[in-house]
């Protein structure tokens, strides 16, 4: 046990910091740090910059165009990107489908799809949840019927993030109704432009609409778009869940929120003094800082164990839960910085190019929206309650 940061690690962090700070376009950075909405093109632009640097896929092995970085380096990279105000790298292609294709895909599939993920020439979304299949994912009922060398899909996906911007969707579909529900699921890749695919954005609490419903109406997909074997989809889904689970910790996002919070605690005033000087407020901020510090050390420890070849088990669920809770508490305190100015809200002011007025000033307008929007983090990717089931069952052996 040696608890000092190694020179190598420090140099790596420095290298990433210098590059990210220099390469991140100022307009994107400004919008991200002000909690404004980004356009599709902003995400693509940043991904291209990383790709040109050779850092397009931090989590992939180098023979597939990845960086080959170890787990700790990936954590450092993500943290530095968040710190600088970079948009998050969309996980659907990079962290989800990419690793699945590398593990289960055919050489033809890898050759066809991996480059587009790296350059973001193709935007992917994830077709998992359905109206009747949330936490109980195996209850999904979107059907794919084999007909000669095609599948015909009918059904509906729900809560699909960025489906309205996506070129492709990877789906869990039902290919067999008999037997255990888990044994009749397949993993299919679908071109969003295929006739019969339609997308309807869902408006969320912050008046954004990043998540969508996706409808499949007799959608014909070539059978070569099946990943792995027919009815092997559940194993693939589980692999995907197990892959890079430490990235659910959200430490980068927590740190960004904390740094914004510190900024507002100094700029906003109470009885003529900065909020930071109000002991009652500062104690709450202190508690959150300590929470985050310990969360960060959990991530460091688990990442380091992962790097030395130990499998991460239910600890990943702990990271997910704590990351969610801390993000949500930070966002709540951030909203409180605005005080009564958390009440008026002009949703359009978050869009690029807005020139109109807001009640309390542009800087306060987005804070309540951020608080409401971040309630999602304890719901998506397995709710906190599902995570707790996993933690307890694995520990008690039930």
């Amino acid at each position: 046990m040696d608890l000092r940061e190694s020179t190598q690690d420090r140099e790596f962090r420095e290298q990433v910091r210098v590059f990210v700070e220099g390469a991140l376009p100022g307009d994107i950075r400004g919008r991200v740090l002000d909690f404004k909405r980004l356009e599709r093109e902003d995400y693509v632009r940043w991904q291209r910059i990383l790709y040109e640097q050779g850092w397009g896929a931090p989590g992939w092995p180098s023979d597939h165009g990845g960086t080959g970085w170890n787990a700790l380096q990936r954590v450092v990279f993500e943290e530095e990107c968040f710190r600088a105000g970079a948009p998050r790298q969309m996980p659907f292609g990079l962290s989800m489908l990419g690793p699945v294709l590398i593990a289960f895909g055919s050489p033809a599939q890898r050759q066809r799809f991996l480059p587009g993920i790296l350059t973001m020439d193709e935007w992917w979304c994830q077709g998992y949840s359905e109206p009747g299949a949330g936490s109980d994912l195996a209850a999904l009922s979107t059907r794919a019927q084999r007909q000669a060398d095609t599948y015909v899909i009918n059904g509906q996906k729900m809560w699909t993030s960025f489906a309205h911007w996506a070129d492709w969707i990877f789906c869990l579909v039902r290919t067999r109704s008999e037997g255990k529900p888990q044994d009749g699921i397949s993993f299919l890749l679908v071109d969003m432009r295929t006739p019969g695919v339609s997308v309807k954005p869902i408006r969320t609490l912050d008046q954004g609409s990043d998540i969508c419903q996706v409808f499949f109406d007799d959608v014909v997909v070539p059978a070569k778009n099946l990943v792995g074997q027919e009815n092997q989809g559940w194993a693939i889904a589980k692999y995907l869940l197990g892959h890079e689970r430490t990235n659910m910790a959200g430490v980068g996002m927590c740190k960004r929120l904390l740094s914004r919070l510190e900024h507002f605690a100094r700029s906003e005033r109470k009885r003529g003094k900065p909020l930071m000087e109000d002991i009652r407020f500062r104690d709450r901020l202190a508690k959150l800082e300590i929470d985050l510090l310990s969360h960060e050390w959990s991530l460091l420890r688990l990442t380091s164990l992962e790097r030395s070849g130990n499998a991460i088990g239910p600890e990943a669920s702990i990271l997910k839960i704590r990351g969610s809770e801390i993000q949500q508490e930070l966002a709540a305190l951030l909203m409180e910085c605005a005080g009564p100015y958390a009440i008026p809200y002009v949703a359009q002011a978050l869009e690029p190019g807005y020139t109109g007025e807001t009640a309390g000033g542009d800087h306060l307008n987005a804070l309540a929206a951020q608080y409401f929007d971040l309630r999602k983090v304890s719901i998506y990717g397995g709710t906190s309650e599902v995570q707790k089931n996993i933690i307890a069952k694995s520990h008690l052996g039930f």
């Binding site: 040696d2 202190a286 300590i290 600890e315």
Partner: protein, 378 residues
């Protein structure tokens, strides 16, 4: 950074665990606890044989000169077994205070005795009414001839009644809550004017109220610079706090093991109670709390030697605040999950719970260290 144990550390951890498993089960501990000193002299000698008493002592004075990570390993193991011996006071705080600030004479006369188990030290620093503030000192040391005369009272001196040497903070100048003007003195607990009244602690350990009435000491009894004892004291206490975080972690882990076993075997409504989701979620909450406690115990061990004093203080304050909060929470939940049995003195559960609370209350509870952290943010 590397969180896995080195080969030497693994050997250290294994040998402690083996000893504790063989000689320190819960019933044995109960019998040690009711001895007059509150622990067993033979265990103290075992710790000396293992070399553990010299873990914080430089090699030049016969010690092992271990790292903060080594102390983490030892204290975590002690927490698991609820070890009673005054390791923290003597081998962690006492040894590091004298090792870092003592004169060559002081080191030569005291450190070898710590290593061999012939000398025990207690930190007599906090006072009645001062709560956790080490700078709130009314005890005075007045100059007389070449030496000093000390008068005052010291409160809740951990293992004060089994120590032969006291490290006493006393005011040599300044007002009663100034950080400047404090000096540290080495005082023989058998010296004239030293009154030691020992009491049992709720966790099975012992502490003492110490009265100092016209206690005469020589100039050579001063540790560190005159009037500048606070920084020395604080730095030694920081080491103690880091060690307490590790001990708390060990206690929480052992408590969770006991609780999990109970949930697997205790049946109600025809099934093990651990199958009920309401209890499973409580278990998950406990495991989450332990993970936080583990992280901060490591953080404390990593930062206790940080050359940046502000960074060091913040990390230790954060760690002790979090560890205290988690320790209490884990203890409370473990009692609840044991139902009525959790209230029984017969089971170890309650004893872990009480120790965890006492750890929280030692040298600053969660609220105190949160306040410290919050003040350091400005």
């Amino acid at each position: 950074m590397d969180f896995s144990l080195s080969e030497e550390q693994q050997i250290l951890a294994d040998s402690i665990e083996r000893w504790l498993a063989a000689d320190y089960d819960f019933e044995a501990r109960r019998s040690f606890s009711v001895r007059p000193a509150g622990f067993a002299e033979e265990n103290w000698q075992r710790l000396a044989e293992f070399g553990l008493l010299g873990l914080n002592v430089p090699a030049t004075h016969g010690g092992l000169e271990g790292s903060a990570a080594d102390i983490f390993i030892v204290m975590r193991a002690f927490g698991r077994a609820l070890v009673l011996e005054p390791y923290l006071s003597t081998a962690v705080v006492g040894a590091s205070l004298i090792g870092s600030a003592g004169t060559l004479d002081q080191k030569q006369s005291i450190l070898p005795g710590i290593v061999t188990g012939s000398r025990r030290i207690a930190l007599a620093a906090l006072e009645p009414g001062a709560r956790f503030d080490f700078h709130d000192v009314r005890t005075t040391a007045r100059r007389r001839g070449e030496g000093y005369v000390i008068d005052g009272k010291k409160a809740v001196v951990l293992h004060g009644d089994s120590a032969d040497t006291l490290i006493v903070s006393a005011r040599t100048s300044g007002a009663s809550t100034d950080e400047n003007g404090l000096s540290l003195f080495l005082i023989d607990s058998a010296a004239a004017g030293v009154g030691v009244r020992g009491f049992p602690s709720i966790d099975g350990q012992r502490s003492a109220e110490i009265g100092l009435t016209s206690v005469e000491v020589a100039r050579e009894a001063v540790v560190g610079e005159l009037d500048a004892g606070f920084a020395v004291l604080e730095s030694a206490v920081e080491r103690g706090l880091a060690a307490l975080c590790a001990e708390a972690l060990g206690a929480m882990e052992a408590l969770m093991d006991l609780t999990a076993e109970y949930l697997r075997t205790r049946k109600q409504f025809g099934q093990p109670i651990g199958r009920f989701q309401a209890l499973q979620h409580r278990v998950a909450d406990v495991l989450i709390a332990i993970e936080q406690a583990r992280s901060v115990a490591l953080l404390a061990a990593a930062k206790v030697d940080d050359p940046d004093p502000r960074e060091q203080r913040k990390a230790i304050a954060a760690a002790k605040a979090m560890s205290g909060r988690c320790g209490r929470y884990v203890g409370q939940q473990a009692v609840q999950l044991h139902g009525g049995m959790g209230m029984s003195d017969e089971l170890a559960v309650g004893h872990y719970f009480k120790r965890l609370n006492c750890i929280d209350l030692t040298w600053g509870d969660a609220a105190h260290h949160l306040e410290r952290y919050s003040d350091l943010m400005c």
